[in-house]
């Protein structure tokens, strides 16, 4: 009886884990890239047909960056992972050895073909006169930003604020006070970035929404340029959403070549143009120059230089009893 049961279970699981056909790849990505990759996949399909003669199907999976990383660790057979932060891709090495440790060195610019930064969205006319980070800690200002413990995007928000304070006062203690004061002005910690956008736009909570630049533009386009405007702070963080091939899976599916081409095409002129179209900042110097009017200049710092990379930032700030927990501790 139980032997049979085991057999049945084995067959079911085996059937479920049978890989997709060879002309299909799965891109496991996060929420705000939905529209971008839809366009990009079409472009790449054409490109791949031209260069190799093969027709390729690309499937997309969306969700919070952390959840998506976990799905891959737990067995979702992604060929490529394009997530919001290096930490979630690091997990593919740390937790399951699906990729080599030095994955981020394999593609140019820290494996981030496009970047973004953290900006503010305020209500039209900027009634509370929010110009820079300092304005967010003023009493009476309500700031909407998601919970950095559940949202990868929100971790960039937090680090941007921390980096601003650290650069200004050159003191960790001051930076902590600053961030504490900022989160004191946060009335609601949504679990994800889109949740925060909803709180700010639909529920009319808060005076300022801290958001990724591409999300901010997307939101304004969707919900009306007559209602909101973007404020770019004096200094912010360079948000680098990285990409990688998932080695174990592409070797199993025999899709390494096409997966690598899929990622490197992101760095091509066409890929960069599409990134710009969806409000990501391009890496390509020429494309960047061409669209310099679209992206307002802002002093950017990198997570490596200020925080020593994601592993360290995560451990110091977002682990249990880390700095973020401390600022909420009683």
């Amino acid at each position: 009886m139980f032997k049979n049961l085991g057999l049945v279970a084995a067959i079911v699981f085996f059937g479920a884990s049978l890989s997709y056909g060879q002309s299909t790849i799965l891109n496991v990505t996060y929420d705000p890239t939905r529209e971008f990759y839809k366009d990009y996949n079409k472009a790449f399909q054409g490109h791949w047909k031209k260069t190799s003669g093969q027709t390729i199907q690309i499937r997309q999976s969306h969700g919070g960056s952390g959840k998506q990383g976990r799905s891959i660790v737990d067995g979702l057979e992604a060929d490529v992972a394009t997530l919001a932060l290096g930490y979630d891709i690091d997990a593919l090495y740390d937790q399951a050895r699906l990729i080599p440790q030095n994955w981020q060195k394999r593609l140019p610019n820290n494996s981030s073909p496009y970047t973004s930064t953290i900006v503010f969205v305020v209500r039209k006319g900027n009634p509370k006169h929010i110009r820079d980070w300092d304005d967010l800690v003023k009493p009476g200002i309500a700031v909407i930003t998601p919970n950095p413990k559940t949202s990868g995007g929100a971790r960039w928000n937090y680090l941007a604020a921390w980096g601003y304070a650290l650069k200004k006062w050159k003191s960790e203690a001051k930076a902590k006070d600053f961030v504490k004061a900022l989160y004191k002005n946060v009335p609601v910690l949504d679990s994800g970035a889109r949740g925060s956008t909803t709180s700010f736009a639909e529920r009319k909570l808060g005076d300022v929404l801290v958001a990724w630049e591409n999300e901010a533009y997307l939101m304004i386009n969707e919900l009306g340029p007559d209602k909101y405007e973007i404020v770019v702070p004096s200094i912010s963080i360079l948000a680098e959403p990285p990409v990688t091939v998932v080695d174990k899976n592409v070797d199993k599916h025999n899709t390494r070549k096409v997966s690598e081409a899929y990622l490197s095409y992101l760095y091509s002129k066409e890929g960069q143009e599409l990134a710009v179209k969806h409000y990501f900042r391009p890496q390509d110097k020429q494309i960047a120059a061409k669209y310099s009017a679209k992206f307002r200049p802002v002093k950017l710092f990198k997570i490596e230089s200020l925080f020593g990379g994601w592993q360290k930032a995560q451990k110091t700030h977002f682990s249990d009893n880390g700095v973020f927990d401390q600022i909420y501790a009683k």
Binding site: G66, K149, T150, D190, S199, R203, K204, F318, A329
Partner: protein
């Protein structure tokens, strides 16, 4: 053992159906739950203790059990009235109202959470009135109670309704002919019969509320120490790839709920036995 049980029942198919039951429960309930214990086995006792008794975790248990209890209580009261009205009276659109009761079951909980948050946020249709009274409805424990009350409504109605339907009118007529007034009939005759089902409904609503995540995260505001529920803590731990810490909190919730359910079930058995004795 087998012989004995075979003798005890005259219905055929005992072995087969019990085997099927065990296998089904094993696959659907026991195996997934045992994964929790498996995941925590890698952490030592001190790590387990630390994860499950952190001040923030304690605050979240308090919140969750409190709001779940409150919402189950509200549902027990109003659910009972709804069941009563649906069974005892005839009125137009009764069928439609009867179907409406089940909607909270069918609706994805995230949808419920978003809809309620929209309604009860300070600028929402309902929330603005609360706001004028200086009561924060959404993004406060009250908001969580509202969401959980919505989610748990069908349980009480659907458990009380069939029992109420099965009570024959002769019982009430007998009570009346023995000189009981309406209130006495309700209190001494009807309510004791209904109470076990009411308690079951309460228990179901309560345990459902304890585990609810989808609707709560949208309306609670997720503030540490204030409106953070254990399922959210579990999510934050998963976000850090801290599987064992997440499982540890889940185990605490699971065992506490199990204990509560057992207690209520025992109580229920006790009560229904007493009722049966009295009726006999």
């Amino acid at each position: 053992m087998q012989n004995k049980s075979r003798r005890r029942t005259i219905l055929p198919g005992f072995g087969l159906s019990l085997g099927y039951t065990m296998m089904y429960l094993g696959l659907v309930v026991i195996v997934p739950l045992s994964m929790l214990f498996f995941k925590t086995s890698s952490m030592g006792f001190s790590a387990f203790w630390e994860a499950t008794t952190a001040p923030r975790a304690l605050a979240s248990y308090r919140l969750s059990f409190g709001v779940a209890f409150l919402s189950a209580l509200i549902n027990a009261f109003f659910g009972f009235i709804v069941a009563w009205v649906l069974v005892r009276y005839e009125f137009p659109f009764k069928k439609i109202i009867n179907v409406l009761i089940d909607l909270p079951f069918a609706l994805p909980t995230a949808v419920a959470g978003i809809a309620l948050a929209t309604l009860y946020s300070p600028s929402g249709w309902v929330g603005q009135f609360f706001d004028k009274l200086d009561i924060q409805s959404a993004y406060s424990p009250l908001g969580i109670v509202i969401a959980l009350t919505f989610i748990g409504l069908p349980f009480v109605v659907r458990t009380v309704q069939p029992v109420l339907e099965s009570i024959e009118s002769e019982i009430e007529e007998a009570a009346a002919s023995l000189g009981a007034n309406r209130w006495q009939t309700f209190r001494a005759v009807l309510f004791p019969v209904l109470f076990p089902s009411l308690l079951t409904g309460f228990t179901l609503a309560f345990s459902r509320a304890l585990g609810e995540y989808g609707s709560v995260v949208f309306i609670s505001g997720n503030m540490p120490f204030k409106t953070e529920i254990p399922p959210l803590l579990i999510m934050t731990k998963l976000e850090q790839y801290d599987y064992s810490g997440a499982a540890a909190i889940a185990i605490v919730m699971l065992l506490t709920s199990l204990l509560l359910l057992l207690t209520i079930n025992l109580l229920n058995r006790h009560v229904s036995r007493r009722v049966n004795d009295e009726l006999a």
